[in-house]
């Protein structure tokens, strides 16, 4: 141990020296443990499933602990061998075929259908095409004709399928905790409505999330007109209040701003994670990635600058990233505005000195790109930053070119926190008789200082409608189950205002009713169906250009397309009318001080489960969050420097005290995080939802207050001495040399980095940099003693462009949804047994304070010389003539030899019965074209062989060959950035063959001569040569100890 510590100290000294001299170490590292070479990293490098290794060590250390003797092991082995043979002797169970009585016209049994619909989420509607097998929705894809989607989706849309089939969803009307029926509610409502009629709805309150649906908006307005004394409140814990207020501040009007990133040469993000969240992010990722081609002559690479506190995928894609506390961003924005000539923006701003060089160079770059640059403010930033961004964009002449203003998407734009505050005041004053909550969960997610729970209980009639029987439902007199969007009719708007229709794929599985249904019930319009209401609304309000067409034709076409032509909001001419107060910077932005006791706390919607609404979705819970790869938990993210100062390390359990509001949380040390600042994700710590989401992580809402909902000052962190294990996959499937016992072959293999990076200028002078260091004599040697297999027909291959990949994880969820992947739970993730067939590795380079960050999606490489195939004792993995490395589940006996021999660590093993064979409601969710794997079976990426086979059959029946781009793997289809391209590499005109021929193409561990079919295109950065050299914070005192 001493030796180890010494070695680490030496490494850290090296690092400090490098940091002090301003040079960045060239080595890539996967995380702090990898950087520091700890035991954890060594274990994960040495083994694919180190959990089993520790089991064996435990047995060796104490062989009699479980009383398993060698003899017992032999007995079990013999018995299982015999039983394994016998299991093959089961007679197939008798099955029933149940045909239709009257078959529907479109359905061909065995062929899926696709329907266009929209997913309302986080202030916009995502356009979707949903695959339906015999009436069962099984997979979500993006709608290519929808402007916000262009055929791609994010993780939330992918995981929506699981929500639909979630057995923990609310299934019935509940009155005071007892099962009731809708008829009971109708009767109770009749009595309530009598009172509303008498007093015009005095004492009646509606609380909804932010409403952007035109039809629901019209319904609520009509409802309020019928009961003029009633009031409507809107609240979302992670809504876009700051963006709305910022627009109001800048233009004195609520406007919607959307960006045209394809026209932007220079992009500045003021802590905006625009590639991952917020309206239009799927489209933005696409437009951004389209401008990252270093070889394009017509569209030069864009340049992205990001200032942010907590590392996000947008920050990772940045060419220049500056970590700073969230509260400092305002000072930065002011300095930038002042530098660009915005009058009075920077009077007295003290913070500008720290990043003066940065601001100067950035302002120069922006000035050089007037009309083709853009400044984007993050939703967590205060309104003034948004107003400043609008001002800068106007100053730079970007309006109408890279940024477009339209009328607000919301029906009634309000500040959610203020709206909820009014409601709580009314609740406390006793003036509210009836509160109807639709689709929100304020008992869980209202700011702590509102004490919503007690205020709510003072109301006589409490009605709640939601997808789950949640925290608010528990306190309500009436809980009404809500229908999932895949079960309901409705409408929504995309980021640019285009209307998307929500079309049901299936009739409600339970007794759910959508918001639209419920408003019909409240308004006593039950003779109308939701479908009628929607049609009637659009019959009266359809876009002017469509009125020439007969309504029925127009309606059918629109339903088919999923998006309403001509419904994009017209651009609005806006002029910034900033009030004079812009001159006074907020007082809260104190300079970082390493001696202060209290630091800053940033609240963020969780990247996986958002504001908590997806807490019961295991696909999202187990999805490694971008960059830190945490699963199943949230944690206080601290920079290495701050953690060091406070004497904390990852997995330490601490008490957080934010001006008297307290909660306990584990610490996670996050490279690249701003110093003297902590990040805590919202959405965890649910105490009433399904079993999956309950009692996981820390409820950040306990300490979130309405006066500082996103950036809070005065956080005190207190050690408890306790330890809390965090299931992060950061170091799982780590590839690299293990130690002294390495063979020469692997030492050579790891000489070349798994991730290849260059800058645009270096790439122009040396386009073949990815092939540097390839030994000529190696290349001249015959690759094998045996003649190679001639791949004469199709030869499937994949190219992954690291320059495009934004690390959004959509491929991971899409792969799971397509391939019936199972979920293993936190305990098993801790042992490295997660079942994702594709993983997005993140790599760091440079100092821990401000490292460069890179993403690398890793599916199966489908090696032509597969190491896994050679060692298989039962032939359960074989090579196909098209180059696929097949995995035959029914042959697999689970020796795990293959995964042991896979240098890329892409094989996954069912250590337990991870697939759910018991829950009936999930049967319908499964992709019928893919086997559901049982215990003891190895599995891995197949390049979506089911899709390949369908396309081949289809092509053969039409007497042709499979066309290029006809087959899209699930990861490719979902990828918002088009980073993954799949196709036939024998067809030299195919997209994938052309990409593979590019000079920045490379393969992982090529020296091993595995001849992988999956190859990569190197990442090219586009730094500004005039920027100051990456300014690193002074090296932290002491070492960063991960042990």
């Amino acid at each position: 141990m001493n030796v180890n510590n010494n070695r680490e100290n030496t490494r850290d000294e090296d690092k400090s020296r490098q940091i002090a001299t301003g040079a960045t170490p060239s080595r890539f590292w996967r995380g702090l443990a990898d950087l520091n070479g700890t035991e954890e990293a060594r274990r994960f490098r040495a083994d694919e499933f180190p959990g089993t290794e520790s089991d064996l060590q435990a047995i060796e250390a104490n062989p009699h602990a479980n009383h398993i003797s060698r003899r017992t092991v032999l007995k079990y082995m013999a018995a299982s061998a015999a039983m394994a043979g016998l299991t093959a002797c089961t007679i197939l169970p008798t099955e029933k075929i149940v045909p239709y009585v009257r078959p529907p016209e479109e359905i061909v049994p065995g062929k899926p259908l696709f329907y266009a619909t929209s997913m309302p989420f986080a202030g916009e509607g995502a356009g979707l095409l949903v695959k339906s097998h015999m009436g069962r929705p099984t997979k979500v894809e993006g709608n290519p004709s929808h402007p916000g989607s262009l055929g791609h989706t994010d993780i939330f849309a992918q995981a929506a399928i699981l929500d639909l089939y979630d057995p923990y969803r609310s299934q019935t009307v509940i009155r005071d905790g007892e099962i009731a029926s809708w008829d009971d509610f109708y009767a109770a409502l009749g009595a309530m409505r009598g009172a509303w009629n008498a007093n015009k709805g005095a004492g009646l309150r509606l609380l909804t999330d932010t409403i952007i649906s035109p039809t629901v908006g019209a319904q609520i307005r009509a409802f309020l007109a019928a009961f003029p004394e009633a009031k409507w409140h809107q609240y979302e814990p992670c809504g876009r209040d700051n963006a709305r207020d910022g627009a109001k501040l800048a233009f004195d009007d609520y406007v919607n701003a959307f960006y045209q990133l394809e026209n932007a040469d220079v992009i500045v993000s003021l802590e905006a994670n625009f590639l991952y969240s917020g309206p239009g992010h799927v489209r933005y990722a696409r437009d951004f990635a389209a401008r990252r081609d270093p070889d394009s002559a017509t569209r030069p690479m864009n340049r992205l600058y990001v200032v942010e506190s907590t590392p996000t995928i947008t920050g990772a894609m940045a060419d220049h990233r500056l970590p700073m506390r969230s509260s400092e961003v305002e000072g930065f924005a002011r300095a930038l505005a002042a530098n660009l000539g915005v009058e009075g923006a920077n009077s007295g701003a003290s913070a500008s000195g720290q990043f003066a060089d940065w601001v100067t160079a950035l302002a120069k770059d922006l000035s050089a790109h007037r009309g083709s640059s853009i400044v984007i403010a993050g939703d967590e930033q205060p309104p003034i930053v948004h107003a400043l961004a609008h001002t800068i964009n106007e100053k730079l002449g970007n309006v109408g070119k890279t940024i477009v203003y339209t009328q607000a998407l919301e029906i009634e734009p309000v500040n959610g926190f203020e709206s909820l505050r009014d409601l709580v005041n009314d609740l406390n004053s006793g003036s509210v008789e009836t509160l109807i909550i639709i689709g929100t969960n304020p008992a869980y997610d209202a700011p702590a200082d509102f004490d919503f729970v007690h205020a709510y209980l003072k109301t006589a009639n409490r009605v709640h409608s939601g997808l789950y029987y949640d925290e608010t439902a528990e306190l309500s007199d009436w809980h009404l189950p809500q229908a999932h969007f895949l079960e309901s009719w409705g409408d929504t708007r995309a980021y640019d205002g285009s209307v998307g229709i929500i079309q049901p794929l299936i009739s409600p599985l339970y007794q759910g009713k959508s918001a639209l249904d419920l408003l019909l019930i409240l308004a006593s319009d039950t003779h109308l169906s939701a479908h009628d209401t929607l049609r009637n609304y659009w019959m009266a309000n359809r876009p002017a250009q469509a009125t020439a067409q007969p309504f029925e034709d127009w309606w059918e076409t629109m339903l088919n397309n999923g998006v309403m032509a001509g419904s994009v909001f017209p651009a609005k001419q806006m002029t910034v009318k900033l009030p004079t107060e812009i001159g006074s910077p907020a007082a809260s932005a104190e300079p970082a001080n390493s001696t202060q006791e209290a630091i800053e706390l940033v609240f963020r919607a969780d990247p996986s489960i958002f504001d908590g609404r997806f807490a019961n979705n295991s696909w999202l819970q187990e999805l490694p969050k971008p960059i830190n790869h945490l699963t199943w938990d949230n944690a206080v993210l601290l920079s290495p420097g701050t953690a060091n100062r406070l004497g904390l390390k990852s997995e330490d359990y601490v008490n957080l005290d934010l001006s008297g509001w307290k909660v306990g949380a584990p610490v996670y040390v996050m490279p690249g995080h701003a110093d003297e600042c902590a990040t805590l994700n919202l959405g965890y710590g649910r105490w009433k939802t399904g079993e999956v989401g309950m009692r996981r992580g820390v409820n950040a809402y306990y300490i979130r207050t309405s006066n500082q909902p996103y950036i809070a000052q005065g956080l005190k962190i207190q050690r408890t001495g306790l330890n809390y294990p965090l299931a992060t996959t950061q170091h799982h499937h780590l590839i690299g040399p293990v130690g002294e016992e390495d063979e020469l072959e692997s030492v050579q293999a790891f000489e070349r980095d798994l991730i290849q990076v260059s800058t645009l200028s270096d790439y122009k002078t040396n386009p073949n940099f990815t092939h540097e260091g390839e030994h000529q004599e190696e290349a001249d040697k015959p690759e094998s003693l045996y003649p190679g297999y001639p791949y004469t027909g199709y030869a499937w291959g994949m190219s992954i462009d690291l320059n495009r990949c934004v690390g959004c994880n959509a491929c991971v969820v899409a792969c799971g949804a397509e391939n019936n992947a199972s979920i293993v739970g936190k305990e098993e993730v801790l042992r490295g047994r997660e079942m994702h067939w594709i993983r997005v590795d993140s790599y760091f380079r440079g100092g821990v304070e401000d490292p460069e960050m890179y993403f690398e999606p890793v599916p199966c490489m489908q090696c032509e010389n597969s190491p896994c195939e050679l060692v298989f004792p039962v032939g359960a993995t074989n090579h196909s003539p098209e180059g696929l490395n097949n995995m035959i589940y029914n042959r697999c006996v689970g020796t795990r030899y293959c995964s042991n021999n896979c240098p890329y660590k892409v094989r996954r093993f069912n250590f337990f019965l991870f697939s759910d064979f018991r829950t009936q409601s999930t049967y319908g969710m499964r992709n019928p074209d893919v086997t559901v794997r049982s215990r003891g079976v190895m599995e891995k990426c197949t390049y979506c062989v089911q899709r390949i086979n369908h396309a081949k059959i289809n092509a053969e029946e039409q007497n042709r060959l499979v066309r290029d781009s006809e087959i899209k793997t699930a990861c490719q289809q979902v990828c918002p950035a088009d980073a993954i391209i799949f196709g036939n590499i024998n067809d030299k005109s195919s997209q994938v063959a052309k990409l593979k021929a590019q000079s920045r193409g490379y393969k992982l561990l090529e020296v091993l001569n595995t001849r992988p079919r999956t190859s990569y295109l190197a990442r090219i950065r586009n730094p500004n040569p005039e920027m100051p050299a990456q300014k690193l914070h002074p090296p932290a005192a002491g070492t960063i100890d991960q042990n």
């Binding site: 002797c89 007679i91 197939l92 008798t94 099955e95 029933k96 075929i97 149940v98 045909p99 239709y100 009585v101 009257r102 078959p103 061909v108 049994p109 065995g110 062929k111 074989n878 196909s880 003539p881 098209e882 696929l884 097949n886 035959i888 589940y889 029914n890 074209d929 893919v930 086997t931 559901v932 197949t942 062989v945 089911q946 390949i948 086979n949 059959i953 053969e956 029946e957 007497n959």
Partner: protein, 215 residues
């Protein structure tokens, strides 16, 4: 001192050879069970809610396979006739026969008839009817002499070795596309010659890669 009785020699010899014989015998017995109709359900008529006779409908009335199995040319699944399909005729003829009571009941109540599946594959096997039809594999090649079945049974074992027989030697089984639905088709004497010609003409690949059926 002699520990073992001389008879031990015999016993040990007997048990060693006996074990070999026993294991061989056991393997043979298991193999035979695996091939037997008890296990494969080959040639075992299945009881159905309505004793539907293919012999009557196909051979005697001459109804085409595709009249009921509508999706056989386009989908992986051949399709089972809806109640409505039955009732196109049976609302006119045999309208009161007790045998057809379940059909009428289904039509009236809207509840489907629950047929017992005759030809079934394990869930890890993915078979596609349409491509086999397209490549000139006749219905009766796999489903046997359906035209003579009063009650339907499985005509073949549907085991993997049986699949591979044809996938390895398609020329022995392929027939002209216009004969695919002919239940009375008999292979010509020059089947191999014709088969080889059709294999070329229909571009039949001898697909024996695992991922053809397993995924």
């Amino acid at each position: 001192m002699q520990i073992f009785h001389p008879s031990t020699n015999t016993i040990s010899r007997l048990s060693i050879y006996g074990a070999v014989v026993f294991i061989g015998l056991l393997s043979y017995v298991l193999y035979e069970i695996g091939q037997s109709p008890y296990y494969t359900e080959q040639n075992v008529p299945q009881v159905q809610p309505v004793p539907f006779s293919h012999r009557h409908h196909v051979s005697q009335l001459g109804i085409d396979c595709r009249y009921c199995h509508t999706s056989v040319e386009t989908s992986s699944f051949a399709g089972m006739p809806s109640t409505q399909t039955c009732m196109t005729c049976h609302s006119q003829i045999w309208t009161n026969t007790p045998i057809l009571a379940p059909v009428r009941e289904s039509y009236e109540t809207g509840r489907s008839i629950s047929w017992t599946r005759v030809n079934t594959l394990p869930q890890f096997v993915y078979f596609d009817h349409s491509i086999h039809i397209h490549k000139g594999i006749g219905c009766t090649t796999c489903h046997g002499d359906v035209g003579e079945m009063t009650i339907t049974w499985r005509a073949t074992t549907l085991q993997m070795t049986w699949c591979l027989d044809c996938h390895r030697h398609p020329e022995e089984y392929v027939r002209p596309r216009d004969q695919v639905f002919n239940v009375n088709y008999a292979p010509p004497p020059n089947q191999l010659e014709l088969g080889r010609k059709l294999v070329r003409e229909y571009k039949i690949n001898s697909l024996t890669s695992c991922d053809t059926c397993h995924r």
